[in-house]
């Protein structure tokens, strides 16, 4: 459904973030993309959703095809129109707007009023907390509630594929678990999910397939359960042994600005 | 490397400096034998005007009228057997540009026919006296008196205010015990005018209610209301032309149905096409120390014809600026004509004091420049707007000096 091939992203004149990343998301299920901070995960998500220019970046090589259509370099609105919706890292809910208005905005590309109302009802069943707080400003919600809202807002657009960028970031372990369940629910409802996570344990527990990105390259890929058992992943991402490998550089400091 | 750099620099600098300074052209050209701006055939005079800034219309008008006079003088053979040439520079009412333009023009000219703008004159005063330059002004501030380098043509703002108050009383528009409202601009015009109105109201047993405004103020409702609350029976107004329109309309809006007398700069012909026109025609008068472009004397008619010949139906915004510039250019010719034997800046300064009875019928009052500490005249005219008069103004009262203005003591600044 989503085919990325040989992707290279650059921010201005800086060194490219990727060195030809390729990955694939199937028609159903959850695909996890793992990697340390600075590996290029967020840039990859931005490349797919078309928001790279907002951060001064661009796709300089490779292709991103969604349902056979090239989307690399397309603007975010047309990407959304094609059914590819992203929940960004850091949630980016509309703090000054109410929960209801956030959901309205999420469904802004859906023409049918009736369809919007139906989706909203379903979402309120899925996230009862949001229904309770529908008149409240999103900025006043807790972190976990904001994450739920961000996901619900994306689902309002009735996506064909949902991209989730670091949904567990900054959340308490219990909430992380809840997010994992939500992701599983969404894919069960028939919406495939590309999940980008630093929290490999959670991601691998819900994903079917996974890719591991390191310094702009895919270094590992395969079925999630196999990866979860591999030594490398266990050591590096599941925290069974701490500290980076010798020789593995920390992210280039200049890149922090762009990926933070 | 880092340490060696200054040595390289200074050595090279020294060598080059020695090589270079041997042949400075500036050294030879700056011999002081000849007077700047004077050759056997020409006399150059400078003009520093605002031709592109906020007062560009006035600047251009003065420039044109000055050129009319110069052409006339040259056609009649020039002065001291030499033709007058103008060196015009635009300062756009920007002090920095004015100072550089002065530096550029000063070495080329005998004197300045006109330097426009009080801020500009202020910035240049020290240089002007250092250069023994004689400078004509488009300003009537008594604070400019006492400096032999500056020419203030005609009566000063304070005297004009006194004459205006005197006229209001003579016409019965103000009676003893009445209140005069005075709305005045912060700056040399308004504050000097206030001295005059304060003096006149004291002498004539009137009360004064004054309100200060800034040149940039557009909404003057509160000032007008304040004057109204003080019970003013007439308003003396020192403002820009735009503000005049605002004041008369706001007075009308506030139901304050009293005469408004403005100074010479407070009117522009285009105001008569604005919404303020009815109020202006009804209430507004102008006091002026120089002549009126629609006056019926031959000298004035000749000038008006020149303007018509050049601009056709397009009448000047400010008839006063046309008259003043033309009049003072002729005055300059008179001054220079008095020192043909000594065409130097010092000679010109001395010649200025010899002019005691210069007049041109209807263009201006008889001028006496002998004492720089006294105004060259104490006479004023009163004008009022009239759509059919040339440049929008007609005569109410010809040049006259009030007794009050005669005895008024000016403290030169």
């Amino acid at each position: 459904m989503l085919d990325i091939e040989g992707l290279v992203v650059r921010y201005g004149a800086r060194e490219p973030v990727h060195h030809g990343v390729s990955l694939e998301v199937a028609e159903a299920g959850v695909v996890a993309l793992l990697g340390a901070n600075g590996a290029g995960k967020t840039s990859l998500m931005r490349a797919v959703s078309g928001t790279l220019p907002l951060h001064g970046g661009s796709v300089t090589a490779g292709s991103i095809r969604f349902l056979g259509q090239e989307v690399a370099g397309a603007n975010p609105a047309s990407v959304v129109a094609q059914g590819l919706v992203q929940v960004p890292e850091g949630r980016h809910v509309f703090g000054a707007l109410t929960v209801d208005e956030n959901l309205d905005a999420g469904g802004i590309t859906v023409r049918s009023r009736e369809a919007r109302a139906r989706t909203r009802r379903q979402l309120f069943e899925m996230f009862p907390r949001l229904a309770e707080r529908r008149k409240q400003r999103a900025g006043t919600l807790s972190g976990g509630e904001q994450q739920m809202l961000a996901i619900a807002r994306a689902l309002m657009a009735r996506p064909k594929l949902l991209l989730l960028d670091e949904p567990s970031l900054g959340l308490a372990p219990m909430l992380v678990k809840q997010i994992g369940e939500t992701v599983r629910d969404i894919s069960r409802e028939g919406v495939p999910v590309l999940l980008v996570e630093q929290n490999a344990a959670m991601a691998l527990s819900v994903a079917h397939r996974a890719y591991v990105l390191e310094l702009g390259r895919v270094v590992l890929s395969g079925p999630a359960d196999e990866l979860a058992r591999s030594d490398e992943v266990r050591r590096l991402y599941l925290g069974e042994e701490s500290g980076p490998r010798p020789g593995e550089a920390r992210p280039v400091p200049e890149l922090d600005r762009w990926t933070a | 490397m880092k340490r060696s750099r200054p040595r390289v620099v200074s050595a090279a600098a020294l060598a080059l400096a020695l090589a270079v300074t041997g042949c400075s052209s500036k050294a030879t050209s700056s011999s002081k034998n000849t007077t700047p701006g004077v050759t056997d055939t020409t006399i150059k005079l400078g003009m520093l005007m605002d031709l592109s800034g906020a007062f560009a219309t006035s600047g251009k008008t003065s420039n044109t009228a000055g050129q009319f006079a110069v052409d006339e003088i040259n056609a009649a053979g020039g002065v001291c057997g030499r033709k007058i040439e103008l060196v015009v520079r635009d300062h756009a009412y920007d002090v920095q540009k004015a100072v550089t333009a002065y530096d550029e023009v000063a070495p080329q000219v005998l004197g300045f026919l006109n330097v426009y703008g009080s801020a500009i004159t202020g910035a240049l005063r020290d240089k002007i006296s250092a250069n023994d330059m004689l400078v004509g002004l488009t300003a009537f501030a008594p604070t400019l008196l006492g400096d032999p380098h500056l020419i203030v043509v005609g009566s000063t703002y304070d005297i004009q205010a006194i004459n205006a108050v005197d006229w209001l009383v003579r016409e019965g528009k103000l009676k003893k015990g009445d209140t005069l409202g005075h709305i005045y601009l912060q700056g040399e015009i308004g504050e000097n005018s206030l001295k005059g109105s304060t003096y006149a109201t004291q002498q004539l047993g009137l009360k004064l209610a004054s309100q200060q405004i800034k040149p940039t103020d557009a909404d003057l409702t509160s000032q007008v209301n304040a004057v109204k609350a003080a019970g003013a029976k007439a308003i003396l107004l020192d403002s820009t032309a735009k503000q005049t329109a605002a004041v008369v309309s706001e007075a009308q809006a506030a139901g304050l149905d009293v005469p408004v007398v403005g100074n010479v700069a407070s009117f522009a012909a285009s105001l008569l096409s604005t919404a303020a026109a009815p109020a202006l025609l009804k209430q507004y008068y102008r006091v002026s120390g120089i002549g009126l472009l629609s006056a019926q004397t031959p000298a004035v008619q000749k000038l008006a014809e020149k303007w018509k010949a050049k601009f056709g139906a397009q009448q000047p915004e400010s008839g006063g600026a046309v008259v003043l510039s033309y009049f003072s250019t002729h005055l300059w010719a008179k001054i220079i004509g008095g020192t043909c034997g000594d065409l130097t800046r010092k000679g010109v300064l001395a010649a200025r004091a010899k002019v005691t009875g210069f007049s041109m019928d209807g263009l201006g009052p008889a001028l006496d420049l002998s004492d720089p500490a006294q105004p060259s005249s104490r006479e004023s005219q009163i004008h009022r707007p009239n759509k059919s008069a040339y440049a929008g103004m007609e005569m109410v009262e010809d040049f006259k000096v009030s007794d009050l203005a005669k005895q008024y003591q000016i403290k030169a600044g």
Binding site: - | V9, A12, A13, L16, V88, D90, A119, G122
Partner: protein, 370 residues
């Protein structure tokens, strides 16, 4: 390219690359020193204004370029320098008072006074960011203008006050000095040229050291991330205040120089337009760089004046008083359009443009990625 790396041990290639630079600098210094012997007062005056403005721009580029504090109040601090000098060095004339201090003392005190004003404003500056700070400081310009008009005994009101010529060790920097060098009479502009050159050079060196040294790093850290800077041991409030005070003192020096260049202090010069011009200068030149500030200042100051002078020679532009496009308006058009074009093509300013050109010319091995 820090100087610390350019020790004697550096490969000969690096030395070879730097040598032309040193010679260029030497040539520039010679030319600058010799100019008063050749140029007329008009050009020297432009130079004086440019240098005075450049010093002010240096201060703003430290404040805004490095520390990220947007100030639209720079004109105010320049005014403090100008009037401070005029008041402290001036004598009593009529209603206008003065303390009659020796000019050099007055100049130093005026600079400190501007710094103190900056310090007084720093509680506000420290609390505000971005556009809030920009407009709050804009308030200073209006407040300052109001004070200039109303504090008559100090400022002389709308008419301004004259400025005591500078003197140092008995030498008077004015037209009444009898000094002549190689037959060229040294009046105010010629002698002030050297004074300004010296002050500008010192100001540039200090600014360069500040920007390249520890304070500059602290400022930039603070600009990019206050919390991060605090975590790295930068005392944010103090660093902000010191950036503000330093920049105010630069403005103060610029003010003193402006006073000397004008030979008179007039209130209307210190308006919002001046503050905005300062901002345009440093961004046109290249934000946060000393050379950018100087180039930007020279450009903004000189362009309208030079264009007016050569109006006759330019197509479409008419001389003063003729009908058509006035030189001064044309200068405004060119200035405005250039600002737009530079921002469209080189948002990094003229300095970035030079940098790109230089990189293009340089052989590939010398090219560095920034």
């Amino acid at each position: 390219m820090s100087d610390a790396t350019a020790t004697a041990a550096v490969a000969p290639r690096a030395v070879a690359r730097r040598l032309p630079g040193a010679l260029l600098l030497a040539a520039a210094v010679v030319v600058l020193l010799a100019l008063p012997l050749y140029l007329e007062a008009f050009w020297l005056r432009i130079g004086l204004f440019s240098m005075a403005t450049a010093v002010g721009a240096l201060g703003l580029t430290i404040l805004f370029g490095a520390a990220g504090q947007l100030s639209l109040g720079h004109a105010f601090f320049v005014a403090v320098g100008t009037y401070g000098y005029a008041f402290l060095s001036g004598g009593d004339t009529g209603h206008v008072k003065g303390l009659g201090l020796p000019p050099i003392v007055a100049a130093v005190l005026a600079t400190l006074l501007a710094g103190v004003c900056g310090l007084l404003f720093s509680p506000v500056a420290g609390r505000l960011r971005g556009i809030y700070l920009g407009i709050a400081s804009l308030g200073l310009v209006f407040l300052g203008h109001h004070l200039l008009l109303n504090l008559r005994p100090v400022t002389g009101g709308y008419d301004g006050r004259s400025v005591t010529p500078f003197s140092l060790g008995g030498f008077l920097f004015s037209d009444s000095s009898d000094l002549a060098v190689l037959g060229v009479p040294f009046g105010a502009v010629e002698s002030l040229w050297y004074l300004f050159l010296a002050v500008t050079a010192v100001a540039t060196l200090v600014a360069r050291n500040v920007l390249r040294g520890r304070p500059g790093r602290a400022f930039r850290l603070m600009r990019d991330n206050e919390v991060g800077a605090a975590a790295m041991g930068v005392r944010v409030q103090r660093a902000k205040a010191s950036a503000f005070v330093l920049s105010s003192m630069y403005a103060g020096v610029a003010g003193v120089l402006t006073a000397l260049a004008f030979q008179r202090a007039v209130p209307d010069y210190f308006d919002l337009g001046l503050s905005i011009d300062f901002l345009a200068m440093i961004i046109l030149g290249g934000l946060g760089s000393t050379s950018g500030a100087i180039v930007g200042a020279t450009f903004v100051v000189a362009l309208p004046i030079v264009l007016s002078r050569y109006a006759d020679a330019l197509p479409l532009v008419v001389g003063p008083g003729q009908d058509g496009l006035d030189a001064s308006i044309a200068a405004q058009f060119v200035y405005g359009a250039l600002v737009v074009v530079v921002m469209l093509t080189q948002p990094g300013g003229l300095r970035a443009m030079v940098h790109t050109l230089r990189q293009r010319r340089r052989p590939p091995y010398a090219r560095r990625t920034p």
